[in-house]
């Protein structure tokens, strides 16, 4: 039997990231997927990043992951979202060329000598071992297995009321694997998601739509990306009309959602056109972003009209949309319904409770989106390799990263609809920024050996530059009079302050600071970003630091693995039930379980304290 340290099932975003992360830590990895063409497939829109999602990309990058680098290599349009709303909520996004993206992902996987890509269909777990699998080409053994089967578990595709089995357009579902997962007895549910029709860009009346260019100076997804000369492409913007909505309304009963074919809910934040029309009937139009799919591909992705209406109706409603009147559909929109596993069955290392060595990552855990999938992939990959090597898991908490927020939400609160990242999910949002992702996560990555030598060297240089810059802004100072002479209006209280203190003043941003103190001009822009933002948010960050200290104190109160809440004095049956369902691993996690009363927490705290 072939044996490896780690097996990764599925070559989607979670799978590629998991395999690469495990390999970077030194594990020998089998990446088992049905076709090499599956690597780097973007099932839905051709874009990486965005609000909240951009944070995940930067954090994956800080752990030396692939998503950011591959995205940058394939990008044809960059935009920093929320540019005007302050550094904490900005998110980089890139539109990418699909073919280039796949090629770059394939290249990144091929560049990792410890990954063997095995083309096979995984049909189940091998008898007698918890971490060996059966595939269409024979069994494979390993110390740990990561399952990242995406939307393929018992997937059904819906075009109107026509239902076919499938995990994605053109791919068969993973029936045998779904049965094997069901056989583990894990709690499961069903979710749905959808995708819009793909259009032939040559049949779009571009003169009839607005064009949106990307940023002139791109903000890259990865901090390793060097500026490129590649020409960037614009996106188009158009809008649905009342006539469009009328057609949708007339054909509602021909959709799986309103015809009654779906059991599970879909994402509210990425609603289908039919959901928009039903739920927001008072709106006279909804934006559609026309996203180019590639440099040498005329396909256009109309973001905003995901639909499972019958294909003929899809064609009809395009005629009511400015610019798309004569657009030809290349592939119809459709919806997919699939099994997911209730992620509360997982530990914060993404390992299945009670099934040592088996990890789950990606859409299989009830999330949606490439970034969410890749983020879980990197954490599961690192931990699978560590498990196989007999090392303790690495757990990221809510105060370190959006990755930590996501995994904590998933494993403790579970999901009631497909989970997507938002900046508002992070309570320490002002502390968790794209500019300091490396400072937050690369040290953790270095400690567990997942950082390659190039990033490692860059990070050492960055840390030195950051230390120097912080010392400099603390040492330089100026009086209010000096600022006034430079034309900056501040309160003339006669008190000289450090550059760091002045940077907290709304009138003093980094460009102003470099005028006041020319010594700061030499600071590299990425370092200046961190220093200026830390100073800008200074008051808030110091308050959050206290909150984080309290939070960490709660987190260090560990609850024993497999704790029986019904043996704790003073917990009512209802509280026992809630806590048992959530399986909090720390007291802090129990605090966040919905509906747990202060009384129950006090009983739990008494228990934890007496146990230690």
């Amino acid at each position: 039997m072939l044996t490896f340290d780690v097996i990764v099932i599925g070559g989607g975003h979670a799978g590629c990231e998991a395999a690469a992360a495990a390999a970077r830590t030194g594990a020998r990895v089998a990446l088992v997927t049905r076709s090499t063409d599956d690597l780097g497939v973007l099932s839905c829109n051709p874009a990486i990043g965005g609000l909240g999602k951009g944070h995940l990309v930067r954090e994956i990058d800080a752990l030396d992951g692939l998503l950011g680098r591959v995205g940058d290599a394939a990008a044809l349009h960059f935009r920093l979202l929320n540019r005007s709303k302050g550094p904490a909520v900005q998110g980089p996004r890139a539109q990418v060329d699909r073919k280039r993206y796949r090629a770059a992902m394939l290249e990144a996987i091929a560049a990792e000598p410890r990954i063997a890509v095995i083309v096979a269909d995984v049909v189940g777990f091998a008898a007698g071992s918890k971490t060996a699998i059966d595939t269409s080409t024979g069994p494979i053994g390993a110390g740990a297995v990561v399952v990242t089967a995406g939307t393929f578990l018992a997937g059904t595709l819906h075009h109107g009321r026509t239902i076919t089995a499938g995990g994605r357009a053109g791919s068969a579902p993973a029936g045998a694997l779904a049965r094997a997962i069901a056989g583990l007895g894990l709690p499961r549910g069903r979710f749905k998601t959808g995708t819009p029709p793909r259009l032939d860009g040559r049949t779009i009346d571009w003169a009839g739509v607005d064009l949106q260019p990307g940023d002139a100076v791109p903000t890259y997804l990865s901090d390793a990306t060097l500026p490129s000369e590649r020409a960037m492409l614009p996106c188009g913007v158009t809008r649905t009309t009342p006539a469009t909505h009328r057609i949708v309304r007339d054909h509602l009963d021909e959709t799986p959602t309103y015809g009654g074919d779906f059991a599970g809910p879909g994402p509210r934040y990425c609603p289908s056109l039919e959901d928009k029309v039903v739920r927001f009937g008072d709106r006279d139009g909804h934006n559609i972003f026309l996203e180019p799919e590639g440099y040498d591909d005329a396909t256009v992705y109309p973001n905003g009209i995901s639909t499972a209406l019958p294909p003929s109706v899809q064609a009809e409603l395009l005629t009511t949309i400015p610019g798309l009147e004569r657009a030809v559909i290349r592939q119809s929109g459709y919806a997919v319904e699939y099994d997911y596993v209730d992620p509360r069955a997982l530990t914060p290392a993404l390992m299945v409770r009670g099934r040592p060595g088996l990890f789950l990552a990606g859409q299989i855990n009830g999330t949606t989106g490439y970034e969410e999938a890749a983020g879980q992939g990197i954490v599961a990959g690192i931990n699978a390799a560590r498990f196989a090597a007999g090392q303790s898991p690495v757990i990221l908490d809510r105060a370190t990263s959006y990755l930590g927020v996501m995994i904590d939400d998933l494993t403790h609160l579970g999901v009631s609809e497909p989970y997507r990242m938002f900046t508002s999910r992070a309570e320490y949002r002002l502390s968790l920024r794209i500019d300091n992702a490396a400072d937050r996560l690369t040290p953790i990555g270095l400690a567990c050996g997942v950082i390659g030598s190039a990033r490692s060297a860059r990070f050492a240089a960055r840390t030195a530059a950051l230390t120097e810059a912080r010392a400099r802004v603390a040492a330089l100072s100026a009086t209010p009079a000096a600022l006034a002479r430079a034309g900056i209006e501040v309160n003339q209280d006669g008190v000289a302050r450090s550059a760091e203190a002045w940077l907290a003043h709304p009138a003093v941003d980094w460009p102003v600071a470099t005028r006041l103190w020319p010594e700061l001009c030499a600071t590299p822009p990425d370092i200046a970003d961190v220093v200026a933002t830390d100073a800008h948010y200074g008051l808030y960050l110091s308050r959050q630091a206290i909150e984080i200290a309290n939070f960490r104190a709660d987190e260090t109160l560990a609850l024993a693995d497999g704790i029986c809440f019904d043996t704790i004095a003073g917990l009512s049956p209802e509280m026992v039930e809630r806590l048992t369902a959530a399986q909090p691993t720390t007291f802090g996690a129990a605090v966040r379980v919905a509906g747990v009363t202060p009384g129950a927490l006090s009983a739990l705290l008494a228990h934890v304290r007496s146990a230690t």
Partner: protein
């Protein structure tokens, strides 16, 4: 009931003791009520009565027998309140006994022998809290209610043990969650047309209204604090001005004398009286005179401190206190009688002539301070701190224009309100966003 539930119940009864206590005053009393709470309550009652349980929440006559000796102890009225619809949330029983010393002692001894545990102070409340029957604020209020000495205190504590404060906070949290959802929508869905059409405005009426309401409640807690802790009146003046006589005169009136606290003559003497439903502590500070007695100097200093901290000062024969009520005593020696003359109240503490004038004047000042008739909340120290924090963060939020920072300030407001009761997770916040906006990518 599933087997798992049975198992769990068995575990619970092993872990949660069954407690009992005498709920009425020290015997002998007309009736003595013994309250029992905990998982073994119902079984215990069956054993003590030798009969099936009476119907829930209804008084039934039963003969209580000591199960070990079979001796009849009393013919009592008993009532059972099965969980969770009971004061503590556990199974509860009440035994209404004949309140003689021997009967009560025998009943308590019997309960102990049967395996129940005498409740420690606050144990019933603690069980209610653990079972989610009371929140922390209500626990605090209950303690105040039990300790309430005056009618005003009792009413304020009652307001809080009920759902009044919880009700307010619930409403504030809903409003705040709505406002925060609006702000978060502008941050998390910047690209979306439908949301972008409603930029958030810090002059938002809901925010102003919320800030106003919080300030109102804060003022009520200040009044409530005076109701709970009472109003302090200090009598100041030189030695032998007749301060003690005045104090005694006030205390001897028909106002209820609550408790005379013994002090030393060198220090301050306090009496607590009920003036119009408010607990008023009257302090007789040590007289001011030149002395070299170390102890006396310390006493005088303490008296002065007390006067400084008092809500109202009554100055007797001294003009050194500008905001005081000025009193000239011993008016029985003059011919003019009691009354207000030249900004001072002339009275005789010895005959009591004019004391009613002082009393009504004090009562008016006291009710001004406590604004009786207006709603008051008694809040614990930590609750007041939470309210202060909530107000400070809302007010800051109203003065900044950066949405991410407004969001951070209002997150703090939410945390402070959570400290008052319950909590909101960011999932709730998102629910609000999605219920009200059409969100695209």
């Amino acid at each position: 009931m599933a087997p798992g539930d049975l198992q769990r119940d068995a575990n619970q009864s092993r872990l949660t003791p069954t407690i009992f206590a005498l709920a009425t005053g020290a015997p002998p009393t007309a009736i003595a009520i013994v309250r029992i709470s905990g998982p073994a309550t119902l079984a215990l009652l069956t054993r003590l009565t030798g009969r099936a349980l009476p119907p829930p929440r209804r008084l039934s006559r039963r003969t209580l027998r000591d199960p070990t000796t079979d001796d009849a102890i009393d013919t009592a009225l008993v009532a059972v309140f099965p969980a969770p619809a009971s004061v503590t949330g556990d199974d509860v029983a009440e035994l209404h006994l004949h309140g003689g010393l021997a009967v009560v002692a025998a009943a308590l001894a019997m309960l102990r022998r049967a395996g129940a545990i005498p409740a420690a102070a606050g144990a019933f409340t603690r069980r209610a809290f653990d079972n989610g029957k009371l929140d922390l604020g209500q626990v605090e209020a209950l303690a105040d209610l039990i300790a309430a000495e005056t009618d005003g205190q009792r009413r304020a504590a009652l307001g809080r043990t009920g759902t009044e404060l919880a009700h307010h906070v619930d409403r504030w949290r809903t409003v705040l969650t709505d406002i925060r959802a609006d702000i978060e929508a502008t941050l998390d869905f910047a690209e979306d047309d439908d949301v972008a059409a409603r930029p958030f405005d810090v002059a938002d009426e809901r925010l102003c209204a919320l800030a106003g309401e919080l300030r109102t409640i804060r003022a009520q807690t200040e009044r409530g604090g005076r109701l709970r802790d009472g109003v302090t009146v200090a009598i100041v003046g030189p030695v032998n001005a007749g301060k003690s006589t005045l104090l005694n005169a006030l205390a001897r009136r028909d106002v209820a004398l609550v408790s005379p606290l013994p002090g030393t003559t060198r220090d301050a003497i306090e009496v607590r009286v009920d003036l119009g439903g408010v607990l008023v502590t009257i302090v007789d500070t040590a007289g001011v005179r030149d002395t070299s007695d170390v102890l006396e100097v310390a006493g005088i200093r303490r008296g002065q401190l007390r006067a400084e901290q008092a809500d109202i000062v009554v100055a007797l024969g001294s003009t050194a206190f500008p905001n005081a009520i000025h009193v000239v005593s011993k008016s029985d020696r003059t011919s003019e009688g009691a009354g207000w003359r030249g900004g001072a109240l002339h009275l005789s503490a010895t005959t009591g002539d004019g004391i009613d004038l002082l009393e009504s004047h004090l009562a008016a000042r006291v009710s001004e301070l406590t604004a009786l008739g207006e709603p008051a909340f008694i809040a614990a120290q930590w609750q007041q701190a939470a309210l202060d924090g909530a107000i400070a963060s809302i007010e800051t939020a109203q003065h900044i224009s950066v949405a991410a920072l407004v969001a951070e300030e209002l997150r703090r407001t939410s945390l402070e309100l959570e400290r008052l009761i319950g909590r909101v997770s960011s999932a709730t916040l998102l629910d609000h966003v999605f219920a009200r906006f059409c969100i695209g990518k």
